[in-house]
Symmetry: D2
Subunit: 349 residues, 4 copies
């Protein structure tokens, strides 16, 4: 029984069904670069799940890679991407978007969410700016579901954003690195079909949601991103053994596994949130998904670190910090029990 | 018993020891991004195998990604990379190097190999060119071992190239996508230690050599590429579950597995080459590694395609073509027997 | 007598001495790309004026070009440039820095100035961040003298910033697009020699300061930017007839012309500021240089626009706006008189 | 009477009418960035001269800058530009195109000219390549009129190239750095109207053709390059005092000056070519424009260098070299006489 860890949701391997199929398929020779039947089957299952039979579906190996490739493919040189200040592309991707030649245009946010109104205002301000030739043109919108703070866009919020994007003719792109945890949430009312209807591109996260690695990019309108396989290759994002990704997503989209796989994480996170509240801890950000953000006195944080791995988020004030406890699809009740016990003890001193 | 395939060396999964460890380690929580103990163990074993205890070792997921990240990290904006015309970076990586802002400077070649003399001449011609401020400066050398045509640099050839590079103070980088097939060759006299001594950066290929995916970048002189993890992140090349790469290379570098794993491929390729010669086929390029390049009349090529998957290489003349038959670490004697039988029958008409 | 214009400081041609020499030199054949004797003479005069006899001096045609070339040459791919939020590179250069692959890292500001303390804090926060491999490294500091709001760094402030940069071993770069207007200010205590001593690179603006066009990049420590002429060529910033730039800067640095040329602008701006204050207008930003930023009721702004060209700066509130009135080296007393008369009339209604 | 120079065609200043207008306009305040009436007048005159009243016309300061901006604006990330191996963008622009992320795709050439057939074959080979997802897509065609060797495309050759480009739906771009010297040639049968009809973008060179500096980009189909002013700004190619470019091109396109201005250069070059032939020199490349390429024994080349500045082109063999003698719009009969005398003396030994 090692040290307890709620440091992240990408610390375990993969769902057992995936490992098992890897074993079975190991010596079957598969065509390269995603041209194999496993990958085609995965594409088809994702199209069905999203209710868009004509969608293009592409598989990449990680989130930063996916964001850089999609954004680089959608923007023209004179355009930038609108994002919340806390957007992962702005904060923790080592400048991959800028490295590809594009500016991230910042919008105010609440719990990582941006609003249709702010998007519209920003675009319209650009449109009337006398110096707009000297400005980066807002060329697309990037949002995450859930956000970096674990919050969810409601269907109505997403519809508003989509409406503005279509009115202004710029693509809407949704980063779904943790999408399974949104889908597993009772509070969530945005389905895969909604995403397919309202977005121009979105990705279904695998790395944090039961796959060894991998993200599935869905482009509901076939051909919307021309030559995206070449763009992927250029980004070093075209896996030689693409069937590894096909196999994983084919498994995740068999019998609705993906829609269910986040449930244990949500259950665990809810138990942890409740326990924190009951024992008198403050939550820095309220959210219904798999990440929990308590505020701790620095001394208690140090003490907690002896028993549990977690992620330091940021300073709350001089004497307190915000930390993140992340549950995953693989989090066990036993580990959650142990964590809650530790937290209670911590509070009781 | 499906259709016979010698289309490539990346069509099967991974060595069984790797699959088995994936199963065992699946629920052990591992720190992210290559900071886990499995990855550290793999680094240490590679350092030992290369005889360079201070080397930096980094793990990436594919070859194009690795080339783009390393070349982007080594060059300054005003510099380009010297490469054979057939170099993979010039021909089949969708312009990833140029996409990163750098020109590929072309050198003549023989079987994919470039010479120390041509490298030196090119650099010295640049040095005396009156317009050199208008030219891209030769900033590093890229070679592959084996080359795209399966040829091998001898130790003496590699020493000569290394000497020129050091004299001219530009890095030498070796793409080892198929390095296991060089190491398994009796004709090869370049060891991992030699590479570590003579190159500034090289990568040990996993994807085509027994891993599910992955390449190990070795930088013999610690710190030679500053902040390379950030460069990897920026390139979308930093795997969240880096331990997947660590586990694979740790396995490949246990008990000398990597040095042995290419042997079945070499044996199969030699048997195929012999059978081709005996039955009167011409070999377009002679080489001692796992790829075989026969010249076939187009009619025979079409017939062969009914029984075997292979790779069309290029037109030889109006009536004949060059094809590639690739054996891999997983090629079975039975498949080689079947292929040879098909080839004999093809020649007898 | 056309419409009065205080819209900008780049609306007239060049100092008469420049035009006169253009005429004289027109048919003298000059070597290309800045290798001519006029350019060498200009370099030498700038070295003398800056008190750094070993400086590298380069001439480019415009500010955005200069910033992009210098920043692209100084940063490594994993690095970004620290700048005030109002920094010209962040706001009005169409994303040229990002287009070159680099992120602009934002710092808080006062009147466009950033502080040594904030620079140091940002770098030290980066240094201790557990996820710093996922962050863009602060790789240089960009400031403007004067700032976008016309404010000046004092010698002591500049010394503090320089000290932090040297301690942290990152270059300090000063954008001197309007440097002549700083040098002509009685309030200014930062000389060209101070800039040469405290910065790693700075540019002396010509376009807005008496030249037809052109900026002179000074690199006090010879060789600090290797192969910068190639970088310039790559940026399309190497003028074929480089002697046009040499001629202009040679003229501007003969008999201290550059240090004097801004005086009429400062005198005019001071008169305008006084008149505004006297007639009861508010100044949005106080500064001692050639740009004046009054706050106007929107109705009065509309009325002013009938008589004078100026630059709308930004909304102050729902009913008032900030505008910019810019004086230049060529502003005449007569025009200033007329402007003041118009402003007085506007206030009296 | 200084040393004779035929080193290049960008060594003198500008046509006198330009200098004179610079003087006259010096204190007239002009709006920035090409929004002034002089620039609009120049645009209108160029539209008229090209017979395309709806054309977009943009002014930039130099050729490398223009090529990089146009090519960067026309290509998508997965595309490259087809060019002759001797194309200026491939050889002497310091990798500016690659720096912008794009590969130059090489075509065989004769005297710097590429053929419609080779363009078509290259595109069709790409279209059927099984691995085309791993290749850079041919996205546009770049040619020069005249070429680097001074040769001219005939109208029929240009029509063929244009037909292929339109059939394959990729833009045709013509670099006209020395276009005035083509237009002044009796052998030339391609007019400005033809260029406007057959190309998607072309530029009319000013720097080498009577302007101090500047190139005029013509886009016959309005809106074909969206947001090009922003692209220019991003490339540092948007001159603050854009009216300087407007004034120059307005002058060059008044009373057909541009179409005539190259005549003295053609006359001089023809006299030099004849003198060379008469005195027994070989011409390395035959062409009818302003550049002359004799083959000289190295000893004679050294001797010539004492009396005349010229441009070393390349080695012809061990004992001979090719040099370039360039005449310009400002070349005088007296200088041509002197050069011819020197050449005759050289041959007589």
């Amino acid at each position: 029984m090692g040290k307890l860890s709620f440091a992240s949701d990408y610390m375990e391997g993969a769902h057992e069904a995936i490992l098992s199929r890897l074993q079975t398929n190991n010596y079957i020779k598969m065509a390269g670069y995603g041209t194999d039947p496993l990958t085609e089957s995965a594409r088809e299952k994702i199209r069905t799940a999203c209710g868009c039979p004509n969608a293009d579906v592409f598989f990449l190996t990680g989130g930063t890679q996916t964001n850089a490739a999609v954004i680089g493919a959608l923007l023209r040189p004179y355009e930038g991407v609108l994002s919340a200040i806390s957007g992962h592309i702005y904060t923790h991707e080592a400048g991959a978007v800028e490295s590809g030649g594009h500016k991230v245009l910042l919008l105010p946010e609440y719990l990582g969410k941006i609003s249709a109104g702010d998007i519209q205002d920003t675009i319209e301000q650009y449109e009337v700016d006398e110096n707009r030739d000297h400005l980066v043109r807002p060329g697309m919108v990037y949002i995450s579901q859930p956000t970096e703070f674990g919050a969810l866009y409601s269907l109505s919020e997403l519809r508003d954003i989509s409406r503005v994007c279509r009115k202004k003719r710029i693509p809407l792109y949704v980063d779904g690195a943790r999408l399974a945890y949104a889908l597993a949430c009772p509070e969530n009312n945005v389905t895969l079909q909604d995403l397919a209807e309202l977005c121009d591109v979105f990705y279904i996260g695998g790395t944090k949601c039961g796959a060894l690695f991998g993200e599935a990019v869905v482009v509901p309108q076939r051909g919307f991103i021309p030559h995206f396989v070449t763009v992927m290759k250029q980004h070093g994002a075209l896996l030689a053994k693409g069937w590894l990704l096909g196999l994983q997503f084919d498994t995740l989209f068999t019998n609705g596994l993906y829609q269910e796989i986040g449930r244990p994480a949500i259950a665990a996170a809810n138990r942890i949130r409740n326990a924190l509240r009951e024992t008198g801890f403050q939550l820095a950000y309220d959210n219904p998904t798999n990440q929990v953000f308590p505020v701790l006195e620095n001394k208690k944080m140090a003490k907690l670190a002896e028993a549990v791995d977690f992620c330091f988020w940021e300073k709350y004030d001089y004497e307190q910090s915000i930390i993140r406890l992340a549950a995953s699809w693989a989090t066990t009740d036993a580990d959650t029990d142990r964590l809650i016990a530790v937290l209670k003890q911590l509070q009781q001193g």
